[in-house]
Symmetry: C2
Subunit: 325 residues, 2 copies
């Protein structure tokens, strides 16, 4: 791959891992690199690890970093100050007013653009995945939490303080379970993997049989793959909890269809990736029953297609746009 073409690097900054892709203008990934985040070591150290991951990705692509990498895009947990490229606050990484763009630009010598992680995920799917060709797209990413993003007329929705798109915190029932954000009955509190796990544990205590803890330390978090396997085996407690998640995502999608009337709803994240079509199908059925006909006419509700690459590729899109401006 040692040529003279130019590329950008897109980075997906997660709570547990950093993932970088080297991509061309058409979203073709020519190399990748991964590193553990090690969030406990603090902001400066994490950004150093990001820069190392970025250099490694360019090296894996056999590129001259100096000459052939034009810019860097980063998808980061938020809320963010997009203009400054600062992380205002993030519970996962325990950062506050962290100048991510500034420090990463200094370490790499490249222009850096920072965007909300769920939003870049949707930007990636909009540019190269399940939302390709649609002007209006809504995305829900069901993992540890429920992330969201919105594309209106081909542009990400940012809003007044640049913090639009927190779709996981729509209130689905004010008397519902407490959410990680402190409020009650958010979509996330019904539908995230964390909520699914809570429901399984409650069901077990109440006497519903489950074998999901059989082969693992029961204090360990349940990963999406394990969840999907138990679901496919018909484990009662797991089935019920996953169905609750999909049902509430379905109600949420119905609301979002009435609110945004998008052309495509993209469902992604660990839970959707692992269970896939049965999950998406449940969402579709509930959404169809609870929405105005005109707001779902010719609308697609589909799984994300870029998997782990969506956020890094979306960040790459922003990197390209930053140098084209």
């Amino acid at each position: 791959m040692s040529n003279n073409d130019s590329y950008v690097i897109g980075v997906d900054l997660g709570g547990t891992k950093i993932y970088a892709v080297v991509a061309d203008r058409n979203g073709k990934i020519i190399a990748t690199a991964k590193k553990k985040t090690k969030a406990e070591r603090g902001f400066e150290e994490v950004v150093k690890r990001m820069s190392k991951c970025i250099f490694k990705a360019a090296e894996n692509a056999k590129l001259n970093f100096e000459k052939q990498i034009l810019a860097i895009g980063v998808g980061s947990p938020g809320p963010l100050d997009l203009k400054k490229g600062e992380v205002i606050e993030t519970p996962n990484l325990k950062w506050k007013n962290a100048p991510l763009k500034k420090v990463l630009e200094k370490l790499t010598g490249k222009k850096v653009v920072v965007e909300n992680d769920a939003t870049v995920g949707l930007i990636g799917e909009h540019a190269f995945g399940a939302g390709k060709g649609a002007q209006h797209v809504v995305g829900l990413f069901i993992g540890t939490g429920v992330g969201g993003g919105v594309i209106v007329e081909d542009k990400p929705l940012h809003g007044f303080n640049e913090n639009a798109g927190e779709l996981g915190h729509m209130i689905m029932d004010p008397n519902g379970p407490q959410c990680g954000c402190g409020n009650n009955g958010c979509l996330e509190a019904f539908a995230s993997r964390t909520a699914i796990e809570r429901e399984i544990r409650i069901a077990e205590i109440k006497g519903t049989s489950t074998k999901i803890f059989k082969d693992q330390d029961r204090d360990k978090k349940i990963r999406s793959k394990r969840l999907a396997n138990a679901y496919k085996k018909g484990d009662s407690a797991v089935k019920k909890a996953v169905e609750q998640s999909a049902t509430y995502i379905g109600y949420g999608v119905a609301s979002l269809l009435n609110i945004f009337n998008p052309q495509v709803v993209v469902l992604g994240g660990g839970v959707v990736e692992a269970i896939s079509e049965p999950y998406v199908d449940m969402v579709r059925k509930v959404a169809e029953k609870n929405v105005f006909k005109v707001a779902i006419r010719n609308v697609k509700i589909v799984p994300a297609t870029l998997g782990d690459d969506s956020a890094a590729l979306g960040a790459a899109v922003l990197a390209w746009e930053s140098i084209e401006k």
Copy 2:
């Protein structure tokens, strides 16, 4: 007012009345006219009445209709086909695929532009009222139903099938009361005047004292003014029902702040107009408690300021834009 200046006419087409305003480019109303809708007489007759109301408004303004009226904007119940200017369906008027734009253009000889009634209400407030100067505005109009509209970057949100903005049909509790739309637990089913009335009647049956039916036939619908008077007198059943309405609008506003992160939330419609600040204040308090801090920072939650004129003025804005294109 007999001058040579040019004007447009904005029309608010409601289930019970037609209201037309003659307005200049700055939203100054120089004359108005009103007519009963008489929906029971059918589409053709209602459009004829609209044209008469339009001519009457121009006459009241002492204008030469032919020469001084440039275009006509109409706010209509929906869903609509905006490009064709057709009403796809409307429960209030019992129309189906009604070619409103075409027939009204024929009757008036002027260019006609048609838009959803709640959306024009918000366009009016955005141009000349409570949302003036803000790029991102969300509007909720609490009357017989709960209408909604959204302005994103100074433009109304339309979506794929042009039916975005049905904010009254966000699901607030899937096990909640049935909504007029057939689904359960929509914001409208908790917060509209219809819902308030239902709650008062239920409370009375259950033994809560109320004097609201004292001076009126108890089979008659409760109007907003009567509601506001009873609320101000501290009528128990009324107070509780109004508080439920404001509380759920507060939850809805919290969700909408997390979703859109607007700069201004405008609350309008008969219920808000009649009760005003106490209602808006309840909404504010609930919203503040249930939203991300960053999504409400410097955000205003305020009553609409144009009253009955908002929709007609919003329609006038669209009429101006249609001739400037």
